[in-house]
């Protein structure tokens, strides 16, 4: 494509809890890092999109930009639940593809309290909250039960996702949790929603990430290690949506949004699941990693569990997943998490991931799935 978007810079503020830092400061840190990585200054940016889950305040995009002085470039906030960063990247990609802007910034920022997300963020109606039917993990627990019953996926395989992601997180200085969790510890941590236990879940937290996109001609001027944004797709889940925020369904036979979005991304990129070197996906809970690895068509239905227990998805395996520890280790700053995935994939494709490096990484896939049915799938290549 003439105006294929090229990633020339990435930045991240460690994911964690930073009571002494404002959300604008988190954003500025990630943007500074991405600009330095791209060898440009803020004044070179022609348009900016900023993702936040809507919890901060509506003017957060411009406020982060104004940390670099006043600017007249267009700045638009993007909100798409846990897929916000992906939707933001999609907007930035379209701005480059459309041809009017040649340097575009995609930023994600978040600051969230500990514990369950506030009901409104996930799209719950007030009556659902009053009835106590608004706890996100209950959906994942019931999905996990169905997957276990249908395919023989074991609780141990689910726990092994958490073991692997925590192990990878130890190697990632930007992760909130940098501690290994042995299988027994994961299985014996307190039950949140049966059969899933606390150490199988991600935690909402604070963080920021930023990505600089350039047109191919401009990218040549600034980088010798271009990473090509081969595809970025964003879709909503068709009926039924048996996930976060919902309370009724009907078996329509429709494909899951992750599959629909992945199919669109594979087609746009001209790249198939068999070509993927590494994957970042929505490991909100450990069973989700198994199910999404199947919905992304990386494994056949029912083979996601054995892939984990056979070591296929660990660093050094055939298809490493969540090499940065996933959000199980990093925590999930909702508006920023997807761009945090892009940060990791770019490092991997440039060969800059240090101890986490996947050998010969050529194609990386990043996937997010959020409340209301949002999903984004991004494919990067070198």
């Amino acid at each position: 494509m003439a105006n294929e978007a090229i990633i020339t810079g990435v930045g991240i503020h460690k994911f964690g809890r930073f009571a002494d830092k404002s959300v604008e400061e988190l954003g500025k840190y990630a943007v500074d890092m991405a600009l330095a990585d791209a060898h440009i200054e803020f004044k070179d940016v022609k348009a900016m999109f900023l993702s936040n889950s809507g919890t901060i305040y509506p003017g957060i995009g411009p406020k982060v930009a104004f940390m670099f002085g006043r600017t007249t470039i267009p700045i638009v906030n993007v909100e798409a639940a846990c897929s916000g960063g992906g939707a933001c990247l999609r907007m930035a990609q379209m701005a480059i593809q459309q041809g009017e802007y040649d340097i575009v910034l995609a930023v994600g920022v978040e600051k969230q309290p500990k514990g369950f997300l506030a009901p409104a963020i996930s799209g719950y109606e007030p009556w659902q909250a009053l009835a106590g039917l608004d706890e996100n993990p209950m959906y994942w627990a019931m999905d996990a039960r169905l997957h276990m019953a249908k395919y023989g996926t074991t609780l141990e395989q689910i726990a092994l996702v958490s073991v692997k992601n925590h192990k990878n997180g130890v190697l990632n200085p930007n992760a909130m949790y940098q501690r290994e969790t042995p299988l027994e510890e994961v299985l014996k941590s307190r039950v949140v929603c049966d059969p899933l236990t606390l150490l199988m879940f991600c935690a909402p937290n604070d963080g920021a990430a930023a990505v600089v996109l350039c047109s191919p001609s401009v990218a040549k001027k600034y980088t010798t290690k271009p990473v090509i944004l081969a595809a970025c797709a964003h879709r909503m889940n068709p009926y039924p949506e048996m996930g976060v925020g919902n309370y009724f369904a009907y078996k329509t036979g429709n494909k899951a949004v992750t599959t629909l979005t992945a199919m669109e991304a594979y087609e746009k990129a001209g790249i198939g699941p068999q070509d993927v070197s590494l994957v970042e996906l929505q490991d909100t809970d450990a069973s989700g990693e198994i199910m999404f690895s199947e919905e992304l068509l990386l494994f056949k239905e029912g083979e996601g569990g054995p892939a984990v227990s056979d070591g296929v998805t660990q660093i050094g395996g055939r298809l490493p997943i969540s090499t940065d520890g996933g959000i199980i280790s990093k925590g999930e700053p909702v508006g920023a998490s997807a761009l945090g995935q892009i940060y990791e994939v770019v490092l991997q494709l440039r060969g800059q991931a240090g101890q986490r490096q996947v050998a010969n990484a050529k194609v990386g896939l990043a996937h997010v799935r959020g409340a209301l049915g949002h999903s984004c799938v991004t494919i990067l290549k070198v």
Binding site: A129, Y247, F248
Partner: protein, 140 residues
């Protein structure tokens, strides 16, 4: 005297008493056959406007299940919280609905177990009305 109001407009048949006569209601799409809870001008699946009102069966079975072991976030009353089982219940008609399950212990649920609609007072709204909420009760 407190009025009785539904948990959500368009989801329960009226009148709201006697309670054992109250049913969940929604729509059926004449174009694609999909069922949905509550009122809507459009089919939630195929967007057809050719939809008709539909009253759902009181009976169903457990499709999947779990237990809420920690108090849901406010405004759910934190001080009175006790763990409770929840399930996706598949009604005889094919609608699948998320519900608290009553009449059983935390460990008693399994796939396919029969349940029946149980409409009771859930909470009191800001106007002092009794909000009528659906649950499903394990029937054996």
């Amino acid at each position: 005297m407190a009025q009785q109001v539904p948990f959500k407009e368009g989801c329960l048949t009226v009148p709201l008493s006697p309670l054992d006569q109250v049913r969940l209601k929604g729509i059926k799409c004449r174009a694609c056959g999909s069922l949905a809870l509550g009122s809507s001008q459009y089919c939630i699946n195929c967007t057809s406007k050719d939809v008709e009102p539909y009253v759902f069966s009181r009976k169903g079975k457990i499709y999947s299940h779990t237990v809420i072991r920690h108090a849901p976030p406010p405004p759910y009353p934190q001080e009175t919280f006790k763990p409770f089982p929840v399930a996706w219940v598949e009604l005889e008609d094919g609608l699948i609905i998320l519900s608290e399950i009553t009449g059983c212990g935390l460990e008693d649920l399994d796939f396919g177990l029969p349940v029946e609609l149980d409409v009771t007072k859930g909470w009191v709204d800001e106007r002092g009305n009794d909000v009528m909420m659906y649950k499903f009760r394990l029937t054996k």
